[in-house]
């Protein structure tokens, strides 16, 4: 399954839909993670907050390929996109293991294929380096075999990269 998360305006939704099995518009109309670990210890892979992201772990867990389209923010995902990722830690279990020579959580849904990030907006060379590091670490953390980060100067270039 190919899942696409983006923080673009609603007007781009129609153009993105043919390129993925599921398109998630990170519009920020949901709460940030409260760090309670309830999606591990209380109600597995489900958040106690009953908003759009309540079962986002269960959705993200199905992804073979995850594509993220995000505005750059200090070498990180935009706040609405990061919010979606923060709320998805239930794709793993509370148990610990080693991946990439560092401690991580075991995977509830097993291995995935590609974590692809397409970054738009003003960005420095140093921020690009940080973004590559961040996406690579995310891929390891969430059990993706490959990580790819692409930078575009204009949003119009995005569709050709999907």
């Amino acid at each position: 399954m190919k899942i696409l998360i983006h923080d673009l305006d609603q007007q781009y939704e129609a153009a993105l839909k043919p390129h993925a099995d599921l398109v998630i518009n990170a519009d920020g109309k949901y709460a940030p993670c409260q760090g309670c670990f309830g999606c591990w210890s209380k109600h597995p892979a489900e958040c106690f907050m009953k908003d759009r992201l309540q079962q986002i772990c269960r959705v993200m867990g199905q992804a073979d390929e995850l594509v993220i389209i995000t505005k750059n923010l200090y070498g990180s995902y935009s706040a609405p996109v990061k919010n979606v990722l923060d709320r998805s830690i239930g794709t793993s279990t509370p148990f610990s293991t080693y991946r990439g020579k560092q401690m991580h959580h075991t995977l509830r849904y097993g291995k995935h294929d590609l974590w692809k990030t397409i970054v738009y907006g003003d960005i420095t060379e140093e921020e690009k380096e940080t973004f590559r590091l961040l996406a690579e670490r995310n891929a390891i953390n969430d059990g993706f075999e490959r990580s790819e980060v692409l930078f575009v100067n204009d949003i119009s270039e995005v569709e050709a990269l999907l």
Binding site: K42, P44, R52, Q62, L73, P80, Q102, M103, Y109, L133
Partner: protein, 253 residues
């Protein structure tokens, strides 16, 4: 000199960020203000404290290898605020994560450095702490140790009139020493960073962790989550299973 400490944990209480903030605050002199950042409703109040600040210390948890989304949202507000008022305070951070390696905080540190460049602030480094959740538990255990010592003393006075039960004090000293040992790396770097804040100097990026071998840490972490999941009931609700999203939920998403 004014230092503003901002606890960026979204948790209301018992958060590791508050523990590390309290330690750091002990060793920093001058005027000190502590703020809590949980929601956008906190933004204006915190911004109001930054106008005359010489140093700001962000104490925050690592979320999915980076800054928590509610902190990113705050930085987006803070950047134009600092630029328009030409603020140039020094920014330090204390980042902690649940894994044992403090180095897992590296992307977060870099994000803050890039933020400082864009906001015109002085990035002064920070401490990245591994095993933050478990270190936070040590302070609770220390409280339990003190309570046990007091109880033993009361019982000793009641039974024998002895105000100084030696065995209880030895037990307390052993436990306190062990808990202190776990925290040694954190204390070393937090005290070092406090000295840098006092002198207005750059501290740089330092990484440390709970003083435990990794395999012991992982064992304790797994036991911890087993106990928590037992009490919260997750253990009996398909704890490790591949949960499917509800059809109704998918349609609305």
């Amino acid at each position: 000199m004014k230092t503003v400490f901002i606890n960026c944990s979204p948790k209301k209480q018992f958060c590791a960020s508050a523990y590390f903030l309290a330690i750091e605050r002990l060793f920093v002199g001058g005027s000190k203000v502590t703020e809590k950042l949980r929601t956008p409703a906190d933004h204006d109040r915190i911004l109001g404290q930054l106008g005359d600040a010489d140093a700001v210390v962000l104490c925050l948890p690592l979320y999915v290898d980076g800054l928590p989304s509610h902190v990113l949202r705050f930085l987006e507000v803070l950047e134009p605020y600092c630029r328009s008022r030409e603020l140039h305070f020094s920014l330090y951070c204390i980042a902690n994560n649940g894994f044992i390696e403090g180095r897992q905080n590296e992307p977060l540190m870099q994000n803050l450095e890039h933020f400082c460049h864009r906001a015109g602030l002085s990035w002064s480094g920070g401490v990245g702490i591994g095993g933050g959740v478990m270190l936070n538990v040590t302070r609770i255990l220390f409280g339990v140790d003190i309570a046990l010592l007091l109880l033993n003393t009361v019982l000793s006075v009641a039974n024998t009139g002895n105000f100084f039960p030696a065995s209880a004090w030895i037990g307390f000293a052993e436990n306190a020493g062990l808990l202190l040992f776990f925290n040694l790396g954190v204390l070393f770097y937090l005290i070092g960073m406090a000295a840098a804040i006092r002198k207005g100097k750059v501290f740089g990026k330092k990484y440390t962790r709970i003083m435990l071998p990794s395999f012991v840490f992982i064992l304790f972490a797994d036991i911890f989550f087993c106990i928590i999941s037992l009490f919260e009931g997750g253990l009996f609700r398909g704890w490790l299973s591949k949960k499917e999203p509800d059809k109704e939920y998918l349609e609305k998403l």
